[in-house]
Symmetry: C2
Subunit: 334 residues, 2 copies
Amino acid sequence: MSDRPTLKDVAARAGVSPMTVSRVVNGEPGVGPETAARVERAIRDLGYQRDAVASQLRRKGQLAHTIGLLVDNVADPFMAAFASAVEDVARQRGNVVLIGTSRDDLKREREVIAAFTARRVDGLIIIPVEGSHRFLQPAVSTGTHVVCADRRAPGLDVDTVIVDNREGVRDAVAHLIAHGHRRIAFLGDRKEIWTIAERHAGYLEALAAAGLPADPALVRNGLRHAPDAATAVKELLEQPDPPTAVFAGNDIVAVGALETLPPSVAMVAFGDFVLATRLDPPVTIVYQDPVAIGTTAAHLLFARIHGDLSQARTVVLPTHLIVRGSGELPPRSR
Amino acid sequence: MSDRPTLKDVAARAGVSPMTVSRVVNGEPGVGPETAARVERAIRDLGYQRDAVASQLRRKGQLAHTIGLLVDNVADPFMAAFASAVEDVARQRGNVVLIGTSRDDLKREREVIAAFTARRVDGLIIIPVEGSHRFLQPAVSTGTHVVCADRRAPGLDVDTVIVDNREGVRDAVAHLIAHGHRRIAFLGDRKEIWTIAERHAGYLEALAAAGLPADPALVRNGLRHAPDAATAVKELLEQPDPPTAVFAGNDIVAVGALETLPPSVAMVAFGDFVLATRLDPPVTIVYQDPVAIGTTAAHLLFARIHGDLSQARTVVLPTHLIVRGSGELPPRSR
DNA sequence: ATGAAAGCGCTAACAA
DNA sequence: TTGTTAGCGCTTTCAT
C-alpha cells in the first residue's frame, strides 16, 4: 500500500517541471506535443490521478463540482426517485453528490448540512424539515447556493420547487364529494411537515367549499409508518358514524391504510405507489412527479452556481388526479 | 456575498496566532481557558467553520471521513433501502457519503468511481456492474478500501456481502415443484447481472434435482423494466403448453409480471415489494434484507478503514421463503 | 514552450 | 501556554 503519486512524481519521471504536468493534466495550452506525450506516458505509468482536494484549495473562487443533497429518508420511494433525478442531472454536469438524511430531525439536518458545507460544496438541494433554517444564512452569504424542494423552508429566501399540494387535495376531496361522500377521513403524516399541513388545508378547503362540516374525529395525523395508518383506519371504521371515504396524505400512509381498509370504502391517495393499479379496486391518486421536482431543483441550483443572480423564485409543479376506481366508489354504510 | 472567514481571520479578531485557533477548533489541549473563550467568541462572531478540504490536505495519512457509494439505480426500492442503511452507519461514524449510480454501465461506473477517488474518499461501497474491475486495483493499492455488495466483482479481491441467491431460488422453485408444477417460467433482468445469473442457475438446479427438463422457451431474460415483464408474461401464456407457475427474478420484474399474470398462475418472486401481501393471492417471496446487506457492508468498510488488515472475506446472508399464497396454488390448465 | 516562486487554508513539528 | 516555520498537492503569477 504505497502512497498515491503526485504531480511531482510524474514531473520527475517525465523529466519536466510540475507546472508542465499541471498543464497537461488540465488540458491547458502551452505544452509541446513531444513533451505532452512524455508526460501522458508518465501519468499512465504511475497511475496518476489529479487530487481534487488539493486542486480545489488553490483554485480560489473555483468550484468543487460537488453538491449536497439532503432528504428526509432515502428509502422512501418518493425521495428515492427524487434523489435519483438530482444525481442524474448532477452527473451530466460533471458533479458528484453528497447525500444525507434528516430523518425528520432538525438537529440532524443541521449536522449533515454542516458536514457538507465544511467540504465546500457548491450548493445544496434540501427537503427541509420543520423549523427555522436561518442557520443556513451564513453559508448562503458566503456563496453556498441552496434550493428547497418538496417543502418550503420558513425564513429562507431561496429557490423552491414544490407542487400545489393544496389544490391537488382540494380537487381530490371535491371528487369524493361529487361521488356522494359526506364523511371523508384524512390520514396524514406528522402535520408539522409542510406538505402534510398543506394537504390538510386543502382537505378542509374542499369540505368548506361544499358546505360540509369538518369533523375532527375523522382526521388522523402523525402517521409515520404504514402500521400506524393501518391502526388509524381500524379505529376510524369502528367509531360510530364512520367515514365512507378516506384521503391518504401520502403513499406510505396509503399503503398502510390499505392493509385494513375494506374494498367498499372509497379512497384517494396523494402520491403514486407500485401496484396501485393492481388492487381491487385500483387506487385513485393525486399524482406528483418526483423526477420533475428533482430535475427542476437541480437545474435551478446549477443556474445559481453558474452565476444566476436573479431574485429567488418558486416553481410550482402541477399535480394530476388519476382516476382508477377506488375514488369513484359510492358511499356505502357498513 | 463575502468570502468565508479563515483561521487567520479568527486569529486576527481574537488577537492570537492561527495555531491557537486551530487548537481550539480541534479541541486540542494546551490553550488557556481565557484565550479559548476569546477564540470561541471570534469564531461565533465571524461564523467561522473549519475548511475540511484544507484540513484534509495537510493531515497526511489522515481520513477524509467521506465514503463513496455506488449503486445501479437509487430509485430501485432494494437499492434505496440498501443505500439508506449505508448512509445511516456512515453518519453514526461521522462520515459523509458520496452517492453515484452506474445505470448498469461499466463506463459510467468507472467515471463515477474516478470522481470519488479524485476526492480522496476513504473507501467505496459498490454494487458492481458486469465486467472487470481491475481498474480499481491502483486505488486499492494506494489505500482506498473497497467493499462489494449484492454482487460479486470478478478479479477484485475485496470484502463482499451477498445473499445466497442460488439457494434461495432453488428452494423456491422446489417449493413450486412440490406443489405440483412442472412447467415453471423464469423471468429475469439482464443475465449479465451477477445476481440474475445466480438466480437462473438456482432455477436450473432445482429443475435438475427434480428430474424436470429445462425448457428454454420458459426462460425470459433481459427484462429491465416492469412493462418488459408484463409483455414477457403475456407471450409466455400465449404459447402452446404455457407455464403453470412463474418465478420472478426480482421485485421489478415481479411487479411488471403481475400486471398481466392471471391470479390462477402460481408465482414466487425474489425480493419483497410493497403491497405484496394485499394482492389476491398474496405473493410468496424469497426474502432478502437490503438493510442487513447495507449495514454489513458499511461495517466491513469501516473496519478496513480503521486498520483491519485481515484477508478479504465474503459474508453470505440468508434468504427466507415467505409463504403467502401465490406460490402454493396448484397447477391449472387454462 | 517551460519553469521558479509563492500561496490556497490548514496543521505537524519544533521552538520559546 | 503560545507562537513560528514549513509544507500538504496543487495552481496562479510572473519570469525566461
